[in-house]
């Protein structure tokens, strides 16, 4: 039931200000994708163009055979019902309380009885940790709560495509971890195609199947997560590590003089804004909570990625092969890769720290396994 989104040559500008040009990507059905990019590169604009709220100058965005950019208004409204969208600020209806907000799509688009609506709404509010707040108006709750209520509303119709604009901004790390788990669980349950826009590196490393990055009015790359996570592209490296040193500046682009100055500072011993560890490298992906069905998208993705494996950069290939089980290696016929170079790629993973130092490696390695967010939830 999941839908594929195919975007070709999408270009958007506001007046004379070009936002991005020729963005082409495919969100494979049932897979989770994350879009990264410095603030102000037009990620929110990209999401809005995908659902026809903004009209791109050129290009197409095809969902189930319908091109959102050129289709008729009736078709557009019809197609939008497939979407669940979380806006950057939650975008709740200010005149309705949380319950009515979440119930709104059900009342508009289904003929469900009020008691059935109540059951679904309370379930979704519970899922996002908002039980007890259903009578409050959006003006009376915190920013993070608005965000979660917005998510509850986006999920209420069991959408086939979920778009989340910075689901983690305004949330604490623990809630972000629960939210990541929630999105993965949801994907396992309803096989929805998910696109998340975020600045949260941890989420970007552990949640998605595919990763992309917008920078300098272009899609720098989009593909299997391993490709971006192991990329040598300076922009990607700088962004993943959150360093000042690199092509991204406070205003989007840096000039050469500033780059040289910063390089000199760093060489003189001035910290570049990181803790010194490399955040790149392939880390284990989040899995659905035990008891849920396996993710269909993950299965399909594996087949898809193995088919294009030879086209990917060698480091990414190693990362992918290293993340397979023995059975899968045999199935795909890549068995030889096991001992050769799997280790060095998996190494930069943050959990067992790169330099374990005096600690007992066994002990540290055991900690993260049951400790996945949401995993131990009763």
């Amino acid at each position: 039931m999941s839908a594929e989104v195919v975007i070709e040559g999408l270009t958007k500008s506001f007046g004379k200000q070009a936002i991005w040009r020729d963005v082409s990507l495919t969100l494979p059905p049932g897979e989770v994708s994350v879009m990264l990019g410095p603030s102000g590169t037009g990620k929110s604009v990209f999401l809005k163009s995908m659902i026809g709220l903004l009209k791109p100058d050129r290009g197409s965005c095809v969902i189930n055979g319908v091109d959102i950019v050129t289709c008729s208004e009736a078709k557009l409204y019809e197609t939008r019902k497939l979407f669940g969208v979380l806006f950057q600020d939650g975008a709740l209806f200010g005149s309705m309380n949380l319950y009515d907000n979440v119930a709104f799509p059900l009342r508009e688009h289904t003929k469900k009885s009020e008691s059935e609506i109540k059951r679904i709404v309370l379930e979704k509010l519970d899922l996002t940790g908002l039980q007890g707040a259903e009578g409050k108006l959006p003006g009376e709750i915190s920013g993070g709560m608005r965000k979660r209520a917005g998510l509850a509303r986006a999920l209420v119709l069991d959408p086939e495509i979920i778009l989340c604009d910075e689901p983690d901004s305004g949330l604490d790390p623990v809630r972000t971890a629960y939210l990541s788990q929630l999105l993965i669980d949801l994907n396992a349950q309803i096989d929805a195609t998910i696109l998340i826009v975020t600045h949260n590196i941890n989420l970007a490393r552990t949640v998605p199947d595919n990763l992309g990055m917008l920078f300098r009015k272009e899609l720098v790359m989009f593909g299997p997560r391993e490709v971006l996570l192991t990329s040598d592209e300076p922009v990607v490296e700088q962004f993943l590590n959150g360093r000042r040193l690199g092509p991204i500046g406070m205003s989007e682009e840096k000039d050469a003089a500033q780059m040289a100055r910063e390089q000199a500072h760093v060489e003189a011993g001035h910290a570049d804004g990181t803790a010194g560890e490399d955040m790149r490298g392939v880390v284990p992906q989040l899995v659905p909570t035990p008891g849920l069905p396996p993710r269909q998208g993950e299965r399909r993705r594996k087949d898809r990625v193995m088919k294009i494996l030879h086209t990917l950069p060698p480091v990414a290939q190693q990362g992918i092969i290293a993340s397979l089980t023995d059975d899968e290696r045999r199935h795909y016929g890549v068995g030889g890769a096991r001992t050769g170079f799997a280790q060095p790629v998996a190494q930069p993973s943050p959990r067992p720290r790169p330099q374990p130092g005096p600690h007992d490696t066994q002990e540290i390695a055991r900690v993260p396994e049951p400790g996945w967010p949401g995993g131990g939830r009763p």
Partner: protein, 271 residues
């Protein structure tokens, strides 16, 4: 910004001749007007929203309208009173003031108040929803904001305008009567009797029709400015301001056109 290096062709393609902006806005306004008309007939009709909006617009306009209507009737009575006495046509005082009030004063007073009090509230409401992305959220949920929010408001503005028009006519005529009879020493009987000397039923119809159209314009302009505020909360303030000014300008222009057409089409009584 760095947009300069982009070989963007939008400028030439959109046509940036002087006045293009105004034309584009006018086009969008008309498009919204047509959209509203089309969506009016689309089910389900938002009855609840409609009633709430009627109540709201009526509650903010009734009192000021009545208060404006009394002096308006009085002014017309006073002005006409002295003029008509000089012409020696005292017996037509009532007729003249009824004609002036019903045909011109009532629809305009109504429209100014519906635009000033009701329209500004509609514009501010929709404008703040727009900048909070509520409108976007609604569109994404597959619900047309025009059908859901704009249509009930425009219809409410129209209905309230028509009802208020009746109120202004009655209050205005009563005010005129009071001033003419009590203060200027006119004869009550003559005032009432002359009503039908010049005025006819079609005057009442054109009056209500004008009110209906003015209500529509006030609602559509307010909604249009509210849906397209320029950047942030300050933009909403500016939009409210503009919506009132634009509505006033449009109203006087449309009033002129309607009056001219009416006077051509419907022959005056007694001629």
């Amino acid at each position: 910004m760095a947009g300069g290096r982009a070989p963007v062709t939008t400028g030439a393609a959109r046509g940036d001749f002087p006045g293009a902006g105004a034309l584009r806005e006018t086009g969008k306004l008309c498009a919204l007007g047509i959209d509203v008309v089309v969506n009016t007939f689309r089910r389900p009709f938002q009855a609840r929203e409609f009633i709430q909006q009627c109540w709201f617009i009526a509650s903010v306009t009734i009192l000021p309208t009545a208060l404006v209507a009394i002096p308006f009737g009085a002014i017309i009575a006073l002005q006409l009173g002295t003029l008509i006495v000089q012409l020696g046509a005292q017996s037509f005082t009532g007729a003249a003031s009824v004609l002036a009030i019903i045909q011109q004063a009532a629809p305009l007073v109504t429209a100014l108040l519906v635009a000033g009090a009701g329209g500004s509230a509609i514009c501010a409401d929709i404008g703040s929803r727009t900048i909070r992305e509520e409108i976007d959220a609604m569109e994404v949920l597959g619900v047309s904001a025009v059908q859901r929010l704009v249509v009930p408001r425009v219809l409410a503005a129209m209905l309230v305008a028509v009802l208020l028009n009746g109120l202004v006519s009655v209050v205005g005529v009563m005010g005129g009567y009071f001033f003419n009879v009590v203060l200027q020493g006119g004869t009550p009987g003559a005032y009432l009797a002359s009503f039908s000397a010049l005025a006819q039923l079609s005057d009442l119809w054109i009056s209500e029709l004008k009110a209906l159209i003015f209500g529509f314009i006030a609602g559509v302009v307010a909604a249009h400015r509210g849906l397209n505020p320029k950047g942030g909360p300050k933009g909403v303030g500016d939009a409210v301001n503009q919506s009132v000014v634009i509505t006033f300008l449009l109203l006087f222009f449309v009033n002129f056109v309607l009056t001219a057409v009416y006077l051509q089409v419907v022959p005056a009584k007694g001629s």
